[in-house]
């Protein structure tokens, strides 16, 4: 167990290093004038330009070392907002966590339930309908779902996180929840498809196993066979996969936040694109990668805790 944890933590650190280095060179080793890239389409004061030129004209090795000493402390301001990038990002984290967290929770609960029902009765009408629906939902771009929702459900707010003029704690909460409905639906629909198929596949995998025959032979009722043996065992890989997905899910929120003008990291990314605002993009990219690494590590650790085959090794 200790060895396993150490191995995973070591791997995460290695990956983090890779991402940090990759992030640096991806933006520096591009063809063309870096200044042009960093300032494209921006009006900058001569002062700013001089500072930027000083930074970018240093030898690449030196820049790299400065960067490595603290990759999260970008010395270059956002060209769009003209403020330190991490300050801007800090403001945008919570809306994304709220949106993605709610969507994942809803989708995971519903997806696991649907997956269990359709996997247990493989080939039934319910299963066929569920599988067909999830395949279709999976094929939908989430931003398109969002656009359709805006078009057809006009009584929900089509953008933003709060209406103008709402004050007080409770009214704000209610108002935010009201604003959450459409973006959460758009995201959850797509995740739902994924979680359902993961849960179904891992349950179907379990159904093949001999230990379920033994459970039946012991005299267990079918629903006990399912609840006590098949489902807990199938939940193991599902939970891990859901956790593993969390890191990527944030990336998927980009278009939905953009469509709904939800002031989170996704919208920030889309804003950074129109420019493009390279320092901001770089920072956002690093943050997303970090998120995936952290959640991958958490998924591995969760698996170790849940599966005795790892924890008792």
């Amino acid at each position: 167990m200790r060895g396993y944890v150490l191995k995973k933590v070591g791997w995460s650190i290695g990956t983090l290093l890779f991402v940090v280095v990759f992030n640096f060179f991806l933006f520096r080793l591009l063809p063309g004038d870096p200044i042009g890239l960093y300032t494209r389409g921006r009006n900058m004061s001569p002062d700013q330009l001089i500072r930027l030129r000083q930074q970018l004209n240093r030898p690449i090795g030196e820049q790299f070392i400065t960067y490595l000493s603290n990759p999260f402390a970008s010395t270059i301001n956002s060209t769009r907002f003209n403020r330190p990038v991490w300050e801007i990002i800090g403001e945008r984290v919570w809306p994304t966590v709220l949106l993605v967290g709610t969507a994942v929770l809803v989708a995971a609960l519903a997806g696991v339930w649907l997956g269990i029902r359709s996997g247990w009765r493989r080939g039934s009408r319910f299963d066929r309908v569920t599988t067909g629906t999830t395949n279709t939902l999976y094929a939908m771009p989430e931003f398109w779902v969002g656009m359709m929702l805006i078009m057809w459900l006009p009584f929900f707010p089509s953008g933003g996180i709060n209406s103008v003029g709402v004050t007080g704690f409770l009214p704000t909460v209610v108002d935010t929840a009201w604003h959450l409905v459409l973006p959460v639906t758009a995201l959850a629909i797509v995740y739902l498809a994924e979680y359902t198929s993961i849960m179904r596949a891992s349950l179907v995998d379990e159904l093949r196993q001999d230990y379920l025959t033994l459970a039946r032979a012991k005299g267990l009722r079918e629903d006990l066979v399912r609840r006590r043996h098949a489902v807990p065992n199938a939940l193991l890989p599902t939970m891990t996969l859901i956790f593993l997905n969390l890191g990527f899910v944030i990336g998927g929120a980009i278009t939905v936040e953009y469509v709904f003008s939800w002031p989170g990291l996704g919208l920030l990314t889309a804003e950074a694109l129109r420019g493009p605002d390279i320092p901001l993009l770089q920072a956002v990219f690093l943050l997303f990668s970090l998120g995936v690494i952290v959640f991958t590590l958490l998924a591995d650790l969760l698996y170790a805790v849940l599966d005795p085959r790892v924890s008792t090794q």
């Binding site: 230990y211 459970a215 032979a217 012991k218 005299g219 267990l220 807990p232 599966d307 085959r309």
Partner: protein, 319 residues
Amino acid sequence: MSLLELRDLSVTYAGDVPAVRGVSLSVAPGEVLGVAGESGCGKSTITNAVLRLLPKSATVGGSVLLDGEDVHGMSFGRLRAVRWATASIVFQGALHSLNAVRTIGRQIAEPILLHEPKTSRKAADLRVGELLEQVGLPARRARDYPHQLSGGQRQRVMIALALACRPRLVIADEPTTALDVMVQAQVLQLLSGLVKDLGLALVLISHDLSVLGTTCDRVAVMYAGKVVEEGPASVVFDDSRHPYSGALAGAFPRVGDPRFRYAPAGLAGDPPYPGDLPAGCPFHPRCPVAFDRCSEAEVELLDVGAGRRAACLRAGEAS
């Protein structure tokens, strides 16, 4: 009275594949019955038929009487009550038959708590410890997970599990396959001891006739879904009346017997696929002593004296 009685049992799988074609067998308490045969002869289907664990698509004919009651006529509630409490199974492939993410103790306790709901958790744990010691494992292994045990130890756990509800009949399906000879000897010794101590009825299923010959009271040899020879274990192994039993016995030669030195005994051809059986006696294409009548009609089991039956037209002539 016999504890388990199969009366003309037949099982046909989906796609018209007859796996078992009219088998009648019985076991009394304290008796060990061996069922021998090769892959596809239907021996494992019998195991599953006894506790009605066959897939829904299978059609079952004849009857399985457990304590005089037909298993296939029971209500589901009654069936669940009978499963494991009256008869239990030692499945082959212990690794896959155990739930990998539950401790052995919990898996053994599960049927106890299920069939004797008044048992306290503590009493169940105590009983689990006893059971483990009975099969030669220390009680503390109850806290282990299946992957922490060796193949032989897992097989012992399977046996402890089968004894959990004090059943009167245990069916062991290839309990020693994939085990080393020495571990195989340990497991067989354990099973024989349990039969003696607990007065169990034991059905031992194996492809190895020599194993059955030494462990069982009576042996039934199966071929293509039917019993082709039945009788006291040692005589079937030593002096078989059906040429197929003879070949099976010869496949595991007696070390030291000059008759087998440089003379491996085997049969030409292969066991038939259950969905495509030859006409007449299904064994006749491989039979060294077949003659023209063998391909005409299937031969029923004939009495050949001293509690022995064989399904061969030449059974009377042998030896």
